[in-house]
């Protein structure tokens, strides 16, 4: 049964940039996220993918109310989080957790691992005694694969992979409804990446937590996510079930991203010659007119320059923002 936990409607995030002030006027507006809408079901993982600067981290932060939304709503179980003040937001923080990319710098170096993992309990469940907190903390450490004797040690004594386990334990100890994972494995070694991905999947199976998995690594996203949302310059290019995305990408940009993933193809050792996007992401302060991807797209027509494409749905429920997706598929 479908059980929608989170509904994001027309969410936009704008930043006022510093510098480049034009003739005494206000500095230009950077539209990091423009009109993004999606839903997240209980126990589901949504992958948000795109290049650096596409707005995927800003989207994650706006959902958690860590940066203010310029427009739109973030509805968590019938409550619009954007209308809440910091104090009113507090009870919801228990349900909404975050895991960062850099596991070492996201842990307080002056706190022991045990203190770090138990701290959310101290803040959100003041009724618990120290012993109860301790029991919960040790139980959580066990579930993420940390040994009890590590509780008294400090983060600098641990490797990146173990620090990420500590972050996961800290995020999971309140039994949240949703965790936003912002590039949780991209700073880790390959063999450790697989361990952390498996751990997140196991915890999700056990607790039914929903995940928003922000990543630029499509092979990991494919493995982790049931649905995918592709962003480019703050806009949604394509969103739909993961299976369809990888077998039948609809948007030219999705195809470019999938083609750019290095493949192990021993019989065809002339790689990287296929459909590679030329150039780089244009400046988000001054995005192209019409379709934002048109400057790097090989299928651009005059219509793409003039009109902004709306999201259209295909027969399998994938939404795609491209004037020519029917002709190109």
């Amino acid at each position: 049964m479908k059980d929608t936990l989170l509904k994001v409607e027309n969410l936009s995030v704008h930043y006022r940039t510093s510098g480049h002030r034009r003739f005494g006027g206000r500095s230009p507006l950077l539209k990091a996220v423009s009109n993004v809408s999606f839903e997240l079901d209980r126990g589901e993982t949504l992958g948000i993918v795109g290049e650096t600067g596409c707005g995927k981290s800003s989207l994650g932060k706006a959902i958690l109310q860590l940066v203010p939304a310029a427009t739109g709503r973030v509805i968590w179980q019938d409550q619009d989080l954007c209308t809440l003040g910091p104090a009113q937001m507090r009870p919801y923080r228990k349900d909404l957790q975050l895991i960062f990319q850099d596991p070492v710098s996201s842990l307080n170096p002056r706190m022991t691992v045990g203190e770090i993992i138990a701290e959310p309990l101290r803040v959100h469940s003041p009724e618990l005694t120290a012993t109860e907190r301790n029991i919960a903390m040790l139980d959580m450490m066990d579930r993420v694969g940390l040994l009890p004797e590590m509780a008294g040690r400090y983060p600098n004594e641990f490797s990146g992979g173990q620090c990420q386990r500590i972050s996961i334990a800290r995020a999971m100890i309140l039994n949240p409804g949703m965790i936003v994972c912002d590039e949780p494995v991209s700073a880790l070694d390959v063999s450790i990446q697989a361990q952390i991905c498996n751990l997140l999947r196991t915890l999700q199976r056990d607790t039914g937590v929903s995940l928003i998995f922000i990543s630029h690594d499509l092979s990991i996203v494919r493995y982790m996510c049931s649905r995918i949302l592709v962003m480019y310059l703050g806009k949604v290019m394509e969103t739909g079930p993961g299976k369809n995305f990888f077998s039948r990408p609809r948007h030219p940009y999705s195809r470019v991203l999938i083609n750019a993933v290095p493949k192990v193809d021993l019989d065809n050792p002339a790689p990287f010659l296929g459909n590679v996007a030329e150039g780089e992401l244009p400046s988000p302060v001054d995005p192209p007119s019409g379709c934002v991807f048109r400057t790097r797209c090989v299928h651009t027509t005059p219509q793409c320059v003039q009109e902004t494409p709306e999201l259209e749905t295909d027969e399998a429920g994938t939404l795609v923002a491209c004037h020519r997706w029917r002709a190109l598929n």
Binding site: Q193, N198, Y223, V261, P262, F272, G279
Partner: protein, 333 residues
């Protein structure tokens, strides 16, 4: 351009029993131990390992670029010229000229207070005795080839004014200006987006095909290696644990670590329903290496002698492709 011929391969770089050590507060730390390999003319060698496996230090040590507390021993020759402890004058005439290196972090590898164009033309003035004017013309030409837009304007840019992908192109241009015989690329695409990574890899692929430059590609990403390299060296805790052709490593990996590494790489064909196979545990700390095989604590097939005797590299027997690996599982008995 000339195609690789079947004549005898030229071993352009020979490394014998290389050791790289660092003096630390906790005593001597061995980053690279007893490493021997050779690089053939025109080939691309992939060096794969996790952080701390010694893959970067091997090549920094080779070029005399170690941190002050580092020491090297052994022998590394480039066309019969010994590189280790060679006089500064000889190294300076080779580095950036015949032997070049590209680094992961392009922002800190380029001089922040110098314009891109000046950094590039300086190399030609220094190594090729060009006049400043000739150098400028050559640099503009090369930047154009490397896909830099508005070269005349970019010539005057400072590194911070460029994007990461653009800087990485500049660094590759810088490293290849003098047509080096050996190009060492240390994680050249790790900090880049996949789309830009594909562009940079295509650039390196073109270099390999058209200029017959020998390339060493240091990376932790096996999938990149599969597309670009001819041979692979797998490193673990400062030692080479397996050598082989790309096909050998991917189709018949011998060392348990290599097998784990090859199978734990998610790709776009694996079944997402099945958990990723993993190599359990953590890479060992170099300050506290176990006796015997460094991989033994993480190895599922560990035997008694693994924890006491260091396994030696041995040739792979049962295979058409050539290769070497260091594991007691191949011991005769």
């Amino acid at each position: 351009m000339s195609r690789p011929t079947t004549s005898a391969v030229t071993r352009i770089v020979k490394c014998r029993n290389l050791n790289v050590q660092f003096r630390t507060d906790n005593g001597l730390l061995s980053a690279v131990s007893d490493l021997s390999f050779s690089l053939n003319a025109g080939e691309c060698l992939g060096v794969v390992g996790e952080s701390g496996s010694g893959k970067s230090q091997t090549f920094l040590g080779m070029l005399g670029l170690l941190a002050d507390n580092g020491t090297v021993s052994g022998s590394v020759t480039f066309r019969d010229q010994e590189l280790l402890h060679a006089p500064r004058k000889i190294l300076d005439s080779l580095r950036g000229n015949k032997l070049s290196m590209i680094f992961q972090d392009s922002l800190s590898a380029l001089t922040p207070t110098m314009r891109i164009g000046d950094q590039l033309s300086e190399v030609l003035v220094r190594h090729k005795s060009m006049s400043k004017k000739e150098a400028r013309a050559k640099v503009l030409e090369v930047l154009e080839i490397f896909g830099i837009p508005d070269v005349a304007q970019r010539y005057r840019s400072y590194p911070f004014e460029m994007s990461g992908g653009m800087r990485q192109r500049v660094m590759i241009a810088l490293a290849t200006l003098c047509r080096p015989e050996v190009l060492i690329a240390d994680e050249p695409t790790t900090a880049l987006d996949v789309t830009v990574q594909a562009q940079i890899l295509r650039l390196l692929d073109g270099l390999k095909r058209h200029t017959r430059t020998s390339i060493v590609l240091i990376t932790h990403d096996l999938a990149i290696v599969a597309g670009l390299c001819d041979r692979i060296m797998i490193m673990y805790a400062g030692r080479a644990i397996e050598f082989g052709t790309v096909r050998q490593i991917f189709e018949h990996p011998q060392h348990p670590y290599t097998r784990g590494l090859v199978s734990s790489v998610p790709n776009l064909n694996s079944d997402p329903e099945v958990d990723l196979p993993t190599v359990p545990g953590q890479p060992p700390s170099l300050e506290n290496l176990p006796a015997g095989c460094a991989f033994a604590p993480r190895c599922a097939q560990v035997m008694e002698r693994c924890t006491s005797v260091q396994p030696m590299l041995r040739a792979i027997k049962s295979s058409d492709e050539s290769g070497y690996y260091a594991c007691h599982l191949g011991d005769d008995n």
